[in-house]
C-alpha cells in the first residue's frame, strides 16, 4: 500500500465522520491557538512595559519613598511613609552634592476630577517643578510650561496632557481656558505634545501644576511637603552609576541614616524596572503557556479517544483488509496517518486562528500581542506530533487484531 493510497483512505475515513473529526480537530485547534496567544500576549506585554518605562525619559533614576526589603524580609513603611520631601529634591539638584545629575523633578501625584463649566474628567494631577519638562523628555504642542516664579507664587496655572485637553474641551487648542481642580480655578498655560499611540495612555492623560500650588491648594493636609516620586536625570548614560551613588549618599545624609540597608527610600533605574517587570511577566507567561499546553494535552487525549472509537467501529473493516492481505504495518500506518492528519489540521487551523486573533485582539484589549514565527511553526509541529503520539496506541491495537475475530465482530 503506497503513501498516497494510505492518505486517500485516511482522508476518506476522516471525511466519513465529519462532525466527529471536526470536534477532535477543534480540541487541538483551541490548544494551539491558546499557546500562540498566551506566548504572544506575554511577549507583547513585556514589550509594552519596557516601552512604557523607557518613555519616562532617558537616563533616569526613580526615587520612591519606603525602604527596600530589609533583612527580615519585611518591607518598611512603604506607601504609608511620607519620607521624601521637596527639600530632598532641592538637595539632589545641588551641583555640590550631585555633580553627575543633570536635572531633578519631584512629583506629587493624585487622582482628581478636573472640571469645566460643561463637563469633568478624572485624571492624574501632577504637582512638580519646571525641570519636569526636561527630565521627563516632554514637549509642548502649544503654550508654555509654568515657570519657577509660578511655582514660588503658587500660581493657579496648569499644563494639560493632550488627551485630557481633548476630553475636557474637544480640542487641544485650549491655552487661556479655565479649569477647576479641587474648587480652585486654574488657567491653562500649555498643552503637552502627545507621546503617540504606542505609548501608555497615562502619558497623555494628566494635568501638570506647580508643586507649591499642589501642596497648598490641591492636596494639602499633613503630608503637605511630601512628594510621591523624585525623578533624577543623570547627565549621561555613563554617569548613571555615579548619579545613583550620589543620590543615595545625599539622601542618607539628609535623613540621618548610616546604614544603606535601612534606607527609607528606594532608587530604581529604568533598566532595573524593566528587568523586574520582565521577570514578572516572564513567569506569568510561562505559567499561562503551561495552562495552554495542558489544553493541548487534553486535545491530544481527544485524538486518542477518537482513534480508539474509530478502531472499535472499524474492527470489521480492519478484519476485512487483513483478510484481503493487509499486513499489520499497513493497518498501523493507516491509523497513524489518520491521527497525524487530525493533529496537523488542528495545528494549521489553530495557528491561523492564533494569528488572526493576534491581529484583532490588540484593538479590543489595548495590549500588544507579539506572534513569533518560531512559536507558530513549533506549535504546528507539536500538534502533528500529538496526533502521532496519541495515535500510536490505537493504531497498534488495530494492527494486532486477529483477522477472523475482527471480521466476526459486530
Amino acid at each position: 500500500m503506497t503513501w498516497t493510497e494510505t492518505l486517500r483512505t485516511g482522508w476518506a475515513a476522516i471525511r466519513s465522520h465529519g462532525l466527529r473529526s471536526t470536534l477532535t480537530v477543534l480540541g487541538i485547534l483551541i490548544g494551539i491557538a491558546a499557546v500562540i496567544l498566551t506566548v504572544g500576549l506575554g511577549l507583547g506585554t513585556q514589550k509594552d512595559v519596557s516601552e512604557q518605562i523607557s518613555s519616562l525619559g532617558s537616563n533616569l533614576l526613580i526615587v520612591t519613598p519606603g525602604s527596600s526589603t530589609d533583612s527580615d524580609g519585611m518591607r518598611g513603611g512603604f506607601g504609608s511613609a511620607a519620607t521624601l520631601t521637596r527639600s530632598d529634591a532641592q538637595a539632589l539638584a545641588s551641583e555640590v552634592n550631585t555633580p553627575d545629575v543633570a536635572g531633578v523633578a519631584p512629583e506629587k501625584s493624585t487622582s482628581l476630577a478636573v472640571e469645566t463649566s460643561e463637563t469633568n474628567w478624572t485624571t492624574t494631577v501632577v504637582g512638580t517643578t519646571p525641570e519636569w519638562l526636561d527630565v521627563r523628555s516632554r514637549e509642548l504642542s502649544s503654550g508654555e510650561f509654568f515657570t519657577a516664579d509660578d511655582d514660588a507664587e503658587a500660581a493657579a496655572v496648569v499644563v494639560l496632557g493632550s488627551q485630557t485637553a481633548t476630553e475636557l474641551f474637544g480640542s487641544t487648542d485650549v491655552v487661556g481656558q479655565v479649569v477647576t481642580i479641587a474648587d480652585t480655578p486654574f488657567t491653562v498655560v500649555g498643552v503637552l505634545a502627545s507621546e503617540g499611540a504606542a505609548a501608555s495612555a497615562d502619558l497623555d492623560d494628566l494635568a501638570v501644576i506647580p508643586l507649591t500650588t499642589a501642596a497648598e491648594q490641591v492636596v494639602g493636609g499633613s503630608s503637605r511637603s511630601s512628594v510621591s516620586t523624585i525623578y533624577v536625570q543623570a547627565a549621561s548614560a555613563d554617569q548613571l552609576a555615579a548619579a545613583y551613588q550620589e543620590t543615595e549618599t545625599t539622601l542618607l545624609n539628609l535623613h540621618s541614616i548610616t546604614d544603606a540597608d535601612s534606607a527609607d527610600f528606594s532608587i530604581n533605574s529604568q533598566d532595573s524596572l524593566v528587568s523586574t517587570a520582565t521577570a514578572v511577566y516572564r513567569t506569568l507567561t510561562v505559567l499561562l503557556t503551561g495552562i495552554a499546553g495542558l489544553s493541548l494535552l487534553v486535545g491530544g487525549i481527544g485524538v486518542m479517544n477518537i482513534m480508539l472509537v474509530s478502531v472499535t467501529e472499524r474492527t470489521r473493516e480492519i478484519g476485512l483488509r487483513k483478510a484481503l492481505g493487509a499486513p499489520p504495518w499497513a493497518i498501523r500506518r493507516q491509523f497513524l496517518v489518520e491521527a497525524t492528519v487530525l493533529g496537523l489540521a488542528g495545528g494549521l487551523l489553530g495557528a491561523a486562528l492564533g494569528i488572526v486573533s493576534a491581529r484583532v485582539l490588540p484593538d479590543l484589549l489595548d495590549t500588544s500581542i507579539v506572534v513569533s514565527g518560531a512559536a507558530v511553526a513549533g506549535s504546528v509541529v507539536v500538534a502533528m506530533g500529538i496526533g502521532l503520539v496519541f495515535g500510536v496506541y490505537p493504531a497498534t491495537r488495530a494492527a494486532r487484531l486477529a483477522p477472523i475475530d475482527a471480521l466476526r465482530s459486530e
Partner: protein, 251 residues
C-alpha cells in the same frame, strides 16, 4: 454412525511445491481440530479433520447449518488458527509462518467470497473490488482496469460506482465474487457464493467458477444446495465438525 472418510485413502505425493504438477496437494490438513472458547464454555467446532485438496481440484463442501463449514474455510484461508493438528499449505506448515507471510499468502494466493460478503459500505463497488490489488502493490490505473473487468465478468459493469448500500443482496454477493477473482488467485474459497442469487445469476456465477476451474484454479465451494455442488468434481460432507464423506462427484 459409521463414517466414510475416504480422504485419507486418496494418494497424494508429499511435499510437492505449489507450482508443480496437477496432483500436488495445495491443502493438506492432518488431524485438525478447532475449539471455540466463549468464556468458560468450550465448543469443538471441528475435530479430527483429514483433508487433502490438490491443485486444480474443484471441491464442494456440504453439510447442515452449524456443522463447521465456515470454520473449515477460515482455517484453510489462514484467517484463523488451528487448535490441534497440522496444516500444510503448498507444502509449508502454516504454524511456522508469521503474520506478514500469512498476509501475503492471503493476498496473492487466495480469493475469498465470504458468506456475509464483507464489503466496505463507504466504498464504491470498484473500490471494494480493487482492495486486494491495493495490498498487492498493483499501480492505480491497472487496479481500476482490472476491477472494472472483474465486475463486468460478474455482470455488474453498470454498477461500478454504486456503494454496497445501493445494491441488492445478489448484486453485493457478485461484487464479493468479483473481489475474489480480481487478484487471479490460484485458490478460491467461496462460502455460499450463490446463497442470495436467483437461478439466472447463480448459473452465471457457477459458470464463472467452471471457467476458472478449466483455467487450472483450485476451487473450494461451500453450499447447501446439491444442485450447486453438482458443479464440483468432488463433494465433501461435513457433519458435527467431522468429515462424514468425501466422494468423487459422479455427475
Amino acid at each position: 454412525m459409521a463414517e466414510t472418510t475416504t480422504a485419507d485413502a486418496r494418494p497424494a505425493p508429499a511435499g510437492a511445491p505449489w507450482s508443480e504438477g496437477v496432483a500436488a496437494p495445495v491443502i493438506d490438513l492432518a488431524g485438525v481440530g478447532k475449539t471455540y472458547r466463549t468464556g468458560a464454555i468450550e465448543y469443538e467446532a471441528l475435530r479430527d479433520i483429514h483433508l487433502r485438496i490438490d491443485e486444480g481440484e474443484y471441491v464442494a463442501i456440504m453439510g447442515p447449518s452449524g456443522s463447521g463449514k465456515s470454520t473449515l474455510m477460515n482455517l484453510i484461508g489462514c484467517l484463523d488458527t488451528l487448535t490441534v493438528g497440522r496444516y500444510l499449505l503448498a507444502g509449508d506448515d502454516v504454524a511456522d509462518l508469521d503474520e506478514v507471510d500469512l498476509a501475503e499468502i492471503r493476498n496473492r494466493r487466495i480469493g475469498f467470497v465470504f458468506q456475509q460478503f464483507h464489503l466496505l459500505p463507504s466504498l464504491a463497488a470498484w473500490r471494494n473490488v480493487e482492495l486486494p490489488l491495493v495490498y498487492g502493490h498493483v499501480p492505480g490505473p491497472e487496479r481500476r482496469r482490472r476491477a472494472v473487468e472483474a465486475l463486468e465478468r460478474v455482470g455488474l459493469g453498470s454498477k461500478l460506482a454504486n456503494r454496497p448500500g445501493e445494491m441488492s443482496g445478489g448484486q453485493q454477493q457478485r461484487v464479493a465474487v468479483a473481489r475474489a477473482l480480481v487478484g487471479e488467485p490460484a485458490l478460491i474459497l467461496a462460502d455460499e457464493p450463490t446463497g442470495n442469487l436467483d437461478s439466472t445469476s447463480s448459473a452465471d456465477v457457477l459458470g464463472l467458477f467452471d471457467e476458472l476451474h478449466a483455467q487450472g484454479r483450485t476451487i473450494v465451494l461451500i453450499t447447501h444446495e446439491l444442485e450447486v455442488a453438482q458443479h464440483a468434481r468432488r463433494i465433501v460432507r461435513v457433519r458435527d465438525g467431522r468429515i462424514q464423506s468425501d466422494e468423487v462427484n459422479p455427475r
